[in-house]
């Protein structure tokens, strides 16, 4: 198990390198610079002198290869550069936002798991029942509703009409502020989880070893507890991992909508003004998060399924 863990962790490194390079290439190709974007609102006439001075200051005039070399050497020292706009280290900017981001995606995922998995499970145990039909209709709706619209709906209902919860903002970081954005963000993974749980459990129920379990004289409840649950978990963990990993990235829209101070809104703001170091750093962190979750999922797999450690 230790060797397996080490191997999986080592496999992350090359991925990070490739992603870092890709990010650099993409943003050296994207048109527009920070200096130009300062005048993009059209209120002032573009000042060529200022633009030239800023480009000089940020090193944007240097040849591509030289900029690349700086980027890579800085990265190797875990230095993500300095923001063009605030002149703060990118690491600090991300650090400030990371807590809120994690809070939001963890809360959304917990909500999705706590609701989605049990419903999917029960639906699979009684296929064709009322519960099954309702769950699946709910899941389809959850997947097809645009989440920003669903967020607005929740906001209208619980904040404006009922006045139970604050409509937006981080506030003092209390649970009350977290509920609406977390539920909105959690709806898509919830629907997906309910569906994959149902499919996974149905699959297991049709397996030969379930027939064996019945032939031993086990009650339905014991068959589920002793043989179905663990086997169905494999598929559930996969879905949880995939969803969880991409959640921080997906949160962009929701963070904007609820004015949530997370990584996602930092990314959007920085792209708009071509604050390239922040954009690069943020994307790198999102990718890294995805890889961490993925690796964790692999390790959980290995703990559930003895066949995986062998391969």
């Amino acid at each position: 198990m230790l060797r397996f863990t080490l191997r999986r962790i080592l496999q992350v490194a090359p991925t990070v390198v490739v992603v870092a390079l890709l990010i650099f290439v993409i943003f050296s190709v994207v048109p527009g610079t920070f200096a130009v974007s300062l005048f993009a609102d059209g209120k002032r006439a573009a000042d060529p002198q200022l633009i030239a001075r800023l480009n000089e200051e940020f090193g944007l005039n240097k040849p591509l290869m030289e900029r690349f070399a700086t980027y890579v050497t800085d990265l190797a020292r875990f230095d993500l550069g300095t923001s063009f706009r605030t002149r703060q280290p990118v690491v600090d900017l991300i650090n400030d936002r990371m807590g809120a981001s994690l809070q939001l995606s963890v809360a959304a995922m917990v909500f999705a798991i706590v609701v989605g998995v049990p419903f999917g499970f029960l639906a699979a145990l009684r296929p064709g029942s009322m519960l099954d039909t309702t769950t699946m209709i709910g899941a389809i709706s959850g997947l097809s509703l645009p989440d920003f619209w669903f967020g607005l709906l929740l906001m209208y209902l619980f904040a404006l009409q009922l006045n139970w919860l604050p409509s937006f903002g981080y506030g003092d970081g209390s649970l009350q502020n977290l509920i609406l954005p977390a539920v909105t963000l959690g709806v898509t993974p919830l629907a997906l989880l309910a569906r994959t749980t149902r499919a996974g459990v149905l699959d297991v129920l049709n397996a030969d070893f379930i027939r064996t379990a019945h032939s031993k004289g086990m009650s339905e409840a014991k068959v589920v507890r002793w043989h179905v649950a663990r086997n169905a978990l494999v598929l559930i963990v996969t879905t949880v991992g995939l969803q969880f990993g991409s959640l921080i990235g997906q949160a962009v829209v929701i963070e904007k909508l609820f004015a949530w101070p997370g990584i996602g809104s930092l990314l959007v703001d920085s792209v708009a003004i071509r604050d390239i170091p922040v954009v690069q750093g943020t994307i790198l962190v999102i990718v890294l998060w995805f890889l961490i979750i993925n690796t964790a999922v692999d390790l959980v797999y290995a703990a559930i399924d003895p066949r995986i450690k062998q391969e």
Binding site: D208, F209, R211, T212, K216, G217, M218, H227, D305, Q310
Partner: protein, 303 residues
């Protein structure tokens, strides 16, 4: 006269076709198994052997349904038994071994634990005791190093070993009847012989009756005292194994036997002509009732 252990009377099974029609799968099958007897059911795929055994276990899945007849086990009609009672018999008094040892065991659970479940379920043992008994059971089916093997997962075992685990599991509670549904079909020939011998010896030693299902006449001949031949949902012939092989009465049985290649009976150019069964049996749908149809009738139904 002793009472038969298993007495299947006029068992009928069907699957619904559309809303009103029923497609019969078993058309009134009757046979008996005496305590300690090994009874073989042969027939081609789809002849109804496996559904018969599943009906005995009460493991038929929808939309399959029993539409008539009785399954008497020690005089008790299993079809009328409440679920709870049936569960108490299943695995405990009537146990089953399946064809696919590769998929019949839970891949995420050790084989020891899977055998131990039997003792927990039917003898109310604690897990600790049950695991010890499981190791013992593995020893009984001649698995080498049973205490080490008990900690193995199914994927760490060969097909033959897994089938031994299945046998250990089935015989764990000392059942009166063991149903073996093609238990050796998925194994290679040398392992097949070992597993067969194991089933034969263990059941003989404990006085366990066996309902042995196979399409392989050779396997049936080596283990069973009596044989029933199934075709298209009917039991077309039944006899003592030796008598059946020596003088098959039914055309289909003769066809089955004729389809076996025989050592030493070569004809010209070292080639042997095997009988093709389709040329013997004509229209399946004409077989509506299970009875010992005479060869003449079958010939008459040929186009």
């Amino acid at each position: 006269m002793t009472m038969p252990l298993l007495d299947i009377r006029d068992l009928r099974l069907s699957v619904p076709l559309g809303r009103f029609a029923l497609h019969p799968l078993l058309k009134g099958v009757s046979f008996q198994i005496m305590p300690g007897e090994a009874y073989g059911l042969v027939g081609e795929s789809g002849s109804g052997k496996s559904v018969t055994s599943l009906a005995v276990m009460g493991l038929l899945k929808k939309p399959l349904a029993v539409t008539g007849g009785q399954i008497l086990f020690k005089g008790q009609n299993l079809l009328a038994l409440p679920m709870r009672e049936m569960r108490r018999l299943r695995g405990n008094r009537i146990a089953m071994i399946f064809q696919e040892p590769m998929t019949a065991l839970n891949p995420l659970s050790t084989v020891g634990r899977q055998i131990a479940e039997m003792f927990v379920l039917h003898q109310g043992k604690s897990w600790g005791e049950a695991e010890k008994l499981a190791v013992e059971s593995l020893g009984n089916v001649r698995v080498p190093n049973p205490d080490r093997r008990a900690k193995n997962y199914p994927h760490q075992m060969s097909g033959g070993l897994r089938q031994r685990v299945m046998i250990a599991m089935a015989l764990a509670c000392g059942p009166d009847l063991l149903i073996a549904d093609e238990p050796t079909t998925a194994l290679d020939v040398t392992v097949q012989a070992e597993v067969l011998r194991l089933i034969k010896e263990l059941c003989a030693a404990r006085g366990t009756a066996v309902l042995f299902i196979s399409h392989d006449l050779g396997v049936i001949a080596s283990i069973c005292q009596r044989v029933g031949v199934m075709y298209s949902g009917c039991l077309v012939e039944e006899n003592e194994t030796r008598a059946l092989f020596d003088s098959p009465r039914h055309e289909y049985t003769r066809g089955l036997l004729g389809a076996l290649p025989r050592l030493g009976s070569r004809s010209e150019q070292g080639r042997q002509r095997l009988v093709d069964i389709d040329s013997i049996i004509a229209d399946r749908s004409k077989l509506t009732e299970s009875r010992f149809i005479t060869p003449r009738e079958l010939e008459g139904s040929q186009p």
